[in-house]
Symmetry: C2
Subunit: 296 residues, 2 copies
DNA sequence: AGATCCGATAAATCGTGCTTATGACTGGGG
DNA sequence: CCCCAGTCATAAGCACGATTTATCGGATCT
């Protein structure tokens, strides 16, 4: 059995749905069906129970094979990763995820880490807007750069990278455009958008659900990534209280940024899984602490 | 990287020779070269050092990858084997190797084992004539049925299956054909053949190197399997002192079997690796002891 | 019954695993 | 010194299997 087929098997074992498994693998449902059928022929027994069209389930045989094959798959991935790193003179890798507009301002930290630990590879990658903590939990990334506080029992909050004042993004022809500043209370006058399915405390840390006087700050749209967000701003459907450093990322004539001094600053820091903390993560936290938090 | 490619890599890592690795994999040398080149491109570093055409060697990178990938490969094989067994209601497998002409007479033992332990799968397979002990050591089979004594420090000798008188196989038109019996001394008058590279004590246990009067019993040919051996007998080039049970396996009009009472009987027994002895092997040995040795 | 969802199957297409043929380089022997 | 044998690399072509598209059959829900 080839590795690709094992991946198909393991994905189906997770999804328990031929169509979804196929989608995750960027394959057609037909292919998944064929591969599983072939595996069952080779093994000599059914791996999945799909008799009553109700719900696909693993048979005991399939469950055993899945338990056996999953470590094989991860070991292979790890081995290849290790070899690729070793070929570049690195012994380990740290994957840091962050929102794209953070990237330019955090160079110091990453360069600091790289020069202190040339034997380790630091990968900076773009984190998704939706369910980013899941990426930490799945092991897709090791450290996540986000606003604080983050209050999840299985995650550790590390040092703060920077404190950033808030600016409200509005369309160039918006009624607020050109203002020199704006109050928090005024945020309740306009529609907002946030990614779906965020933990409440986390969403609240970014933008309160209520104004100081108790009016609701309404979420009228949901946006799954930063581009969607800024697009909604440009079209005038929403306004959005970004941290100020986005002004160095987007400088489009169609958007204007109005300071919200009353909101104070928002802290951005490191977050990682408590139970996979390792020497690399600690070294990154140490580096950030040594350099100290930036103030924009 | 697919499993097939991993196999190619691991085989080359063992053989350290593109041509031989290809032969073992039933591939062409070109294919091995291509696969390794591709792997090195994907990894981003050389896996083998073949600069000076002297001798292919693993680079440190290749050595590391090899150490990482070998367990992946064996775990995969084991997992699939386990699944195949589980599909047939078995939990473990015992592979017994023997010379093909032993097969018909040993049914009792195998059936005894199977009825005592229906949850275990007993596979009877044909063992090669050349370097059979290596197959035990490589883990290709678990137990080997052979004549005794076997005197290797890493192998355990188990119970005897049967004691068998000797018969000399000669061509139908051979000068000895039709004799009612023959002396050991007379064996020195004819050419013999044995597999190459046998341990001396083992070869001697089957056919002494000298007659009682001290004449050499000459090996004039080497045969790598039983068919080659009987072919040499038929063509009259050699004679061969088989154990008598082969008369139930070959009964060709071109061969005659002449008893050699003076040689006595030769014992056949179980042999296995001391350090991989397990519950299945012990159960087989117990079964054989309980049934007792056969006398032909 | 009709609509819908889901997995199996058949047929068609496309990619790649593998071969054959050849080249390039090295070391040894006359 | 040149040729030859041995060995790995490269190029081109083929054939099979990986994958897709299209369709079917069975179950469930309204």
């Amino acid at each position: 059995m080839e590795m690709r087929e094992i991946e198909i098997f393991l994905t189906l074992a997770e999804e328990l749905h031929f169509g979804r498994a196929a989608a995750r693998l960027h394959l057609t449902q037909a292919r998944v069906s064929q591969v599983i059928a072939r595996q069952e022929r080779q093994i000599g027994g059914l791996l999945f129970d799909r008799s009553n069209r109700r719900q696909v389930r693993l048979t005991p045989l399939g469950r055993q094979l899945c338990a056996d094959l999953r470590p094989v798959h991860t070991h292979l991935r790890d081995s290849l990763e290790r070899a690729r790193l070793a070929a570049r003179g690195k012994t380990a890798r740290l994957r840091v995820g962050m929102m794209p507009f953070n990237v330019p301002d955090l160079h110091h930290y990453w360069e600091g880490f790289r020069s202190r630990h040339p034997e380790w590879e630091l990968q900076i990658r773009r984190a998704p807007y939706v369910e980013p903590f899941e990426r930490l939990r799945d092991g897709d990334m090791d450290v996540f750069v986000t606003w604080l506080p983050v209050d999840e029992p299985d995650l550790t909050t590390g040092p703060v990278l920077f404190h950033d004042p808030r600016v409200l993004a509005v369309a160039a022809d918006h009624e607020l455009a050109g203002r020199s500043q704006i109050s928090v209370e005024a945020l309740g006058d306009f529609g907002h958008a946030m990614p779906p399915a965020m933990p409440d405390f986390w969403e609240d840390g970014y933008l309160s659900f209520y104004t100081p006087r108790g009016r609701e700050i309404e979420r009228i749209e949901s946006a799954t990534n930063a581009d969607e967000l800024i697009h909604l701003v440009i079209t005038g459907e929403i306004v959005h209280p970004f941290p100020s450093h986005v002004t160095r990322y987007w400088s489009m004539s169609h958007v204007q940024f109005v300071p919200i001094p009353e909101m104070g600053t928002i802290p951005y820091g490191l977050v990682w899984r408590r139970d996979t903390e390792n020497e690399l993560i600690r070294a990154l936290a140490r580096t950030v602490r040594d350099i100290g938090a930036l103030h924009f």
